[in-house]
């Protein structure tokens, strides 16, 4: 049993790629060992900004010898009529680098048995360079020096030790050895690793915490200790805090947390400006008081120890203050102008070269939002706030603050709108129109904001489609898929049932920029997002296909609803029977379309009369209005009536009038069933 360490020494990698690269190295090394049949007990990864490493423990001395059997021709084809080896046998033997005589007979075939000898671990591991290190893939690459080879960052050293012995290989001009590098400043450049077992400890002595998980735990502990001592609130549980912690962890090798301060007067800035300045620009953690209000302090992490940390604190405080000074400047300057001033400048801002300006986009959004607002029965006040919001909702793009902190678009819009005297509903709609800002981000909460968000996104989709700027494959440069997902999620969150096709048809006719849009294509594009969301929720693909089939009006909330309802009921004991009964109706109805009403006097047997009685008061629009669950329940109840019907009724009766009437009944029922989508798509096991 031996241990082994591989370390790839690099110039500082991008923080966001360290963890994924560490995992990739583990996967590649595991695959490599499996391919070479080299057994080991455990694999442990290490990573810092400057190194990716894996440690193997309990490594076998070499790969196991194996016997490989390959099947050749059948025995009766092995020899010709003269009893000589056939061409097939000779060819097979040659291919296996043996002779026909050496082949073994078994189960009526000839077999070649090859002995693959075991290979010593050191020899196998010497292929790690070409088979693992060089094979790593990254989302960003670079060349350096005169090399044409690309990698995430320049490779500066390689450590490969099998117990105490160096395993030789090279990558480019870098030769493996036992020399690693410690912390850039706290350690001398070259550090010798005695053997594979002492890798982690050797680096720890050289001020490198190589285990990324331990390093993160250390940082967390240091931050929380300071916060606790100072009685500051520190919330590391949010997504943003976790992202920051992950980034900070991957830009330090030896962390030491510290606290800094800024003057109280900066607390007058909007909270988001302070948080963005600290978190996004300086990688600081912000702290709060018991009420959750920001305190004029921050926490950060140095890549080093505590010596001379006062310099570091002072420097970081100075940088933050310079940034906040800038923010104060913009905050004051911005308030000297008016929303009208900014809107004048929005008129020059281009939305897309082929489509026009942001201002023209806003004018169209105003029309569309109006249509949507009417269709959704917004109140008079809501419609009037919506109208005002559509007039101004992009003004903040031209403010100095958003010019400097572009991530604050919308947020500053809301803030400034209030300062400029707009009401709270209008102001909130401005920030909400960007929502959701991520796949799982929250959607606009207020009705006015939600309508604006939907209209803004729909206009983008319609105009980009009309200009033939349609996403294809992985290519979606204008984020139209994200916008479409946003539309669907917002509609769902507000439970807004809407005939979107109607609304868009009216809208399309209003503007030249929308005239060329194929609305069916757009409805299909949005339906695709419903499908994706349902699949992401873990719904079976056949049910997703069924529930999202035949979408015509674009009531996506209902489409999503029925898909969920089908998914829920697919667990019911009687789901199979219900689906079979309904499918039978659908299949027959598809054979002959009859849309005349069912004539009661032509109904002959009791079973068809029973079916008629059970269905004559069911109306698709009513049931859909109550939701897909109501429709499903109504149809599921018919299961026995339908079964009885088919047991006793020949649909293709000799009497044409009776036959037609039966098809009319099946068609009417099928209309109800089609409210669940295309149930024929459901796979019944």
């Amino acid at each position: 049993m031996a241990d082994f360490i591989l370390e790839i020494g690099l110039e500082e990698m991008p923080a966001h790629l360290v963890t994924s690269s560490e995992k990739q190295l583990v996967d590649r090394v595991s695959d490599f060992l499996a391919t070479h049949r080299l057994a080991y007990q455990a694999i442990k990864p290490f990573s810092t900004p400057r190194r990716l490493a894996v440690e193997l423990t309990g490594l076998a001395a070499g790969s196991e010898a194996v016997q490989e059997e390959k099947r050749g021709p059948s025995v009766d084809r092995a020899k010709d009529d003269n009893g000589d080896w056939s061409k097939a046998a000779q060819g097979f033997a040659r291919g296996q680098k043996t002779t026909p005589e050496a082949l073994v007979e078994k189960d009526g075939y000839l077999w070649a048995k090859t002995e693959i000898a075991g290979v010593p671990a050191a020899e196998i591991l010497s292929h790690l360079g070409e088979e693992v290190v060089e094979k790593m893939t990254f989302s960003t690459y670079m060349k350096w020096g005169n090399h044409s080879f690309s990698y995430i960052r320049p490779i500066r050293w390689l450590v490969a030790l099998l117990d105490e012995d160096v395993v030789d290989f090279t990558v480019l001009d870098v030769q493996t050895g036992r020399t690693t590098r410690g912390h850039r400043f706290l350690s001398n450049a070259d550090v010798t690793v005695g053997d594979a077992q002492s890798y982690e400890a050797t680096l720890a002595d050289a001020f490198v915490m190589a285990d990324a998980d331990k390093r993160k735990a250390t940082i967390t502990d240091q931050l929380e200790t300071i916060a606790r001592d100072q009685k500051w609130g520190l919330d590391l549980s949010t997504d943003q805090a976790q992202d920051l912690l992950e980034e900070v962890n991957n830009i330090v090798e030896w962390p030491t947390a510290f606290a800094g301060n800024f003057a109280d007067k900066y607390l007058a800035l909007p909270k988001e400006v302070l948080i963005t300045s600290m978190r996004d620009h300086q990688r600081f953690f912000f702290v709060t008081n018991e009420e959750g209000e920001l305190l004029p302090h921050f926490l950060s992490v140095r890549n080093g120890n505590a010596e001379n940390i006062d310099n570091v604190i002072a420097g970081n405080e100075k940088v933050l203050v310079a940034r906040l000074e800038d923010a104060v400047f913009f905050y004051q300057e911005d308030q000297q102008k008016s929303i009208d001033d900014y809107m004048d400048r929005v008129k020059k801002l281009v939305f897309h070269e082929k489509i026009g300006t942001v201002y023209e986009h806003m004018v169209r959004v105003r029309e569309l939002a109006g249509e949507l607002g009417q269709a959704l029965d917004l109140s008079y006040d809501e419609l009037s706030d919506l109208n005002r919001a559509t007039e101004i909702y992009k003004f903040d793009l031209m403010t100095g603050m958003v010019g400097e902190f572009d991530e604050l678009q919308g947020v500053m819009g809301e803030h400034y709108a209030k300062l400029f005297g707009e009401n709270d509903v209008v102001a909130q709609a401005i920030v909400e129109h960007y929502m959701p800002t991520s796949a799982t981000g929250s959607v606009a909460e207020s009705k006015v904001g939600a309508v604006l968000a939907i209209a803004d996104k729909l206009d983008s989709i319609v105009t980009f489609f009309a200009a033939d700027l349609i996403p294809s494959g992985a290519n979606d440069p204008y984020g139209l898929r994200r916008a479409a997902t946003g539309v669907v999620r917002t509609l769902e969150a507000h439970d807004w049932h809407l005939n979107l096709l109607d609304v868009l048809t009216k809208f399309k006719a209003l503007n030249s920029e929308t005239a060329d849009a194929d609305l069916n294509q757009i409805i299909a594009f949005l339906t695709d997002r419903v499908r994706k969301l349902a699949a992401d929720d873990g719904i079976r693909s056949d049910i997703v296909t069924a529930g999202t089939a035949d979408v015509t009006t674009g009531d996506f909330v209902y489409v999503a609803d029925r898909t969920n309802v089908l998914a829920q009921h697919s667990q019911d004991d009687d789901f199979r029977d219900v689906m079979e009964a309904l499918s039978r109706v659908s299949r027959l109805a598809a054979k002959e379309t009859v849309d005349t009403p069912v004539k009661a006097d032509l109904l002959e047997n009791d079973q068809e009369k029973a079916l008629f009685a059970a269905t004559q008061n069911l109306n698709l629009a009513d049931l859909e209005g109550q939701g897909a669950e109501a429709l499903y329940q109504a149809l599921a109840k018919l299961q026995n009536v339908i079964a009885d019907y088919f047991d006793h009724t020949m649909v293709n009766d000799d009497n044409k009038a009776v036959k037609k009437n039966r098809y009319a009944q099946l068609n009417a029922l099928n209309t109800l069933i089609s409210g669940l989508g295309d149930i024929e798509q459901i796979v019944i096991k």
């Binding site: 500082e12 990698m13 020096g145 330090v252 300086q282 001379n308 420097g315 100075k318 940088v319």
Partner: protein, 315 residues
Amino acid sequence: MSSEKLSVQDIILTLQQFWADKGANLMQAYDNEVGAGTQSPYTFLRANGPEPWRAAYVQPSRRPADGRYGDNPNRLFQHHQFQVVMKPSPDNIQELYLASLEALGIKPLEHDIRFVEDNWENPSMGAAGIGWEVWLDGMEVTQFTYFQQVGGIEVDSVTSEITYGLERLASYIQDVPTVYDLEWGHGVLYGDIFKEPEYEHSKYAFEESNQEMLLQHFDDFEKEAQHNLALGLVHPAYDYILKSSHTFNLLDARGTVSVTERAGYLHRIRTMARQVSKVFIEERAKLGFPLLKDEELREKYLGPKGKYAKKEEQD
């Protein structure tokens, strides 16, 4: 930090001496308006082709839109960059850089120095690189880049570029609240020299520039650049590309260029930058890549009759 605080000119002298000792040739600031040290032909042109090149120089860099009438503590119409280019990139370039900070009295153990990912791109010059911002106690003091593409062409030999923001670095070293309080040398302050031009240039760029004249100049400069490019006169052509670029920046600062037009102008500059890179390599090849001493590389890049041998990269 040393008790005697280095003046701006001490910083320049120290960096010049340091990099000269490391093999860089000290060039002078380029005598044409540029927006960054990268635009100097000592970086932009020399980064093309396979020839080695090592240079260091101070480059005053004009960015009309960043003018603040001398009112903002950090933002300037014209700032100064100390530019170092080492091609091909040395294996110890990061260590060399850190040693240069030590030469300035910045002892790494007394500070927090980080290399934070920051890939650099200048679309108008068709240039892109991979690298970092260097943070000194949270302040970005240097841009560190490995050029991957210049003039839209993938590089043959990678240039490592180190761009020190001199005002930033000096503000840190001298610990002053605004750039105008920096001591340039001999008790003369930065503000004594630059506050008035900052105000005047801001006033000019934002309020007084003659739009029609600038538009006309842009067209004229573009024509002149193309004329020279056709003749293989690389350096005059490049001068006119720089003039076009600066003229556009002045127009842009005035805020009268619409975003659509903006894209059009940038496209015109980029087209010329691509051409000049190509012509530069061809002309150097005709001269036989005189700075390229490595026989193997000469073999690789120099074809028969002084033709650049490497096939065009698909982009």
